[in-house]
Amino acid sequence: MAPRIATTAAEAVANIHDSSTILIGGFGNAGQPMELIDALMDCGATDLTVINNNAGQADAGLALLIKERRVSKIICSFPRQSDSWHFDEAYRAGEIELELVPQGNLAERIRAAGAGIGGFFTPTGYGTLLAEGKETRVIDGKGYVLESPLHADFALIKAFKADTHGNLVYRKTARNFGPIMASAAKSAIVQVDEIVETGKLDPEVVVTPGIYVNTLVALGGNNS
C-alpha cells in the first residue's frame, strides 16, 4: 500500500495505542523524530515499551514521556547521561524497566526482526554481565551470545525526503537507526522535511524502500 499521508504529527501517531512497543529513531538529535515524539506525548498512549538508543535527555521528547510514567519499559544501549534525570528518577523509583543492550546488538536485533531472522549468535557481550542468562556458544574457538529479534508495533523515525510511494532518503549521520527500525515495525510512521512526487527520487539512491513505510508526514526542516 502506498503510505497514508498525514497532515500533522498528531494525525500521524493517532493509531498508537496503550501498551504498544515503539521503536524511536535517532542518535543524539540527528534523526530524532522530535515532532512525532511530542505528538505521542499529546496522544495519551501509555504503558509503552520504547526501543531507542538512549533514555531521553533534558526536559523534552522521550524524557517527558518517561517523566509522565508513560513508558513502562525501555530497551536501549545508553540510558545514563548527564541530563537523563527523568529516566534516572523513574529507574531509581523502580517505575521503569530497563533492558540494556550493547548498541551493535541493539541494531542487529532490530535488523533481524525486519529480516525474519529468529535469532543470531553475536560475539558482542560474550563473557559480560549483559550475556547473563543468555545462551552462549563457542564457534570456531570464539565465544558468541544468542540474541533475539526486536519486533515492534510502531516505529517513529525521521528521514530527509520521501516520495509519495514512501521511498526514503536520509541526510548524513541522521540515517542511523531509521532504515532498520522502519523494517522492524508493523507500522512505520515517518516524518520528513519534504514529500516529493514519485519519480523524483533516483531508484539507485533510495535507502528505505516504500514497502517499509506506512505513514508519512512532511514537517519541513532546517536542512532542505
Partner: protein, 223 residues
C-alpha cells in the same frame, strides 16, 4: 599492526596526554581504518598526519569523518559518536546503524582506541561500568568497540588515584570484552599484550624495575 621491531626505550618524565596521543597516532599504520573512542582517544585525531591517510569511522554511521565542525560548518545531521558536530572528508560514506556495527563486528576496522578502567594481562577489558551499587548501567557501543577491530588499543592512566595498578591479574570491574586488548598506552609505560605475555615497550618517569614491583602482572622487557 606488527610490533616485532619495537625496542625498549625509556624517558625521564611521565607522558602528558598529548604525548600519549601523539605516540598512538604515530603507531597507526598508513591507510588504516580507525575508530577512536570517546574521551582521551578522540585526541589522537589531532596528531594524525595527512600523509598517513587514515580513515576515521564513527559508529553512528560514517567513514571518512573529518575534524570537529565550527561556525557555519555545524550541521545537526552530522555528528560523531560523542554527539559532537563533525565534518565530512572527500571519500566519505554514510550507512545505517546495523551496517555500521556489522563493519566493526566483522573485523574490518584496523584499529580501535579506547579508554579503560582496567585491563588484565590476558587483554580483558573493563571500561563500561563501575559495578558500584546504585550505579545506573549504560553500555553504548563499548562492547562492540572492544571486539570490533583487528587491534584494540587502550589509553588510560596506569594507576588509580589511590595508587592501585589498573593493569591487573584479573578484572575486578565488570567485563567489557575478553582477550581483546593488544596494546596499552599509559603515562608511565606502553605495554604490548600477546598470548598472555605482557611486554613493556617503554617506560616514562619510572624504571622497568619499579614497574615490576608495582604491577601485579608478570612483565617482560622489550628487547
Amino acid at each position: 599492526m606488527s610490533t616485532e621491531t619495537s625496542t625498549f626505550t625509556t624517558t625521564d618524565a611521565a607522558l602528558t596526554r598529548d604525548e600519549m596521543a601523539r605516540l598512538v597516532a604515530a603507531d597507526i599504520p598508513a591507510g588504516a581504518f580507525v575508530n577512536l573512542g570517546i574521551g582521551q582517544p578522540t585526541n589522537v585525531s589531532n596528531f594524525l598526519t595527512g600523509e598517513q591517510g587514515v580513515t576515521l569511522h564513527t559508529e553512528n554511521g560514517m567513514l571518512g569523518m573529518g575534524p570537529v565542525a565550527t561556525g557555519d560548518d555545524i550541521d545537526e545531521d552530522l555528528i560523531n559518536a560523542g554527539k559532537v558536530p563533525v565534518t565530512e572528508l572527500p571519500g566519505a560514506s554514510y550507512f545505517h546503524h546495523a551496517d555500521s556495527f556489522a563493519m566493526m563486528r566483522g573485523g574490518h576496522l584496523d584499529v580501535c582506541v579506547l579508554g579503560a578502567f582496567q585491563v588484565s594481562g590476558a587483554g580483558d577489558l573493563a571500561n563500561w561500568h563501575t559495578g558500584a551499587p546504585g550505579a545506573i548501567p549504560a553500555v553504548g557501543g563499548a562492547m562492540d568497540l572492544a571486539i570490533g577491530a583487528k587491534s584494540t588499543w587502550v589509553m588510560m592512566g596506569l594507576f588509580t588515584k589511590t595508587g592501585e595498578s589498573k593493569l591487573v591479574q584479573a578484572l575486578t570491574y565488570p567485563v567489557t570484552g575478553l582477550g581483546c586488548v593488544s596494546r596499552i598506552y599509559t603515562e608511565s609505560a606502553i605495554f604490548e599484550l600477546a598470548a598472555g605475555t605482557v611486554t613493556v615497550r617503554s617506560t616514562h618517569g619510572i624504571s622497568f624495575e619499579e614497574l615490576v614491583e608495582r604491577l601485579p602482572v608478570e612483565l617482560v622487557r622489550a628487547a
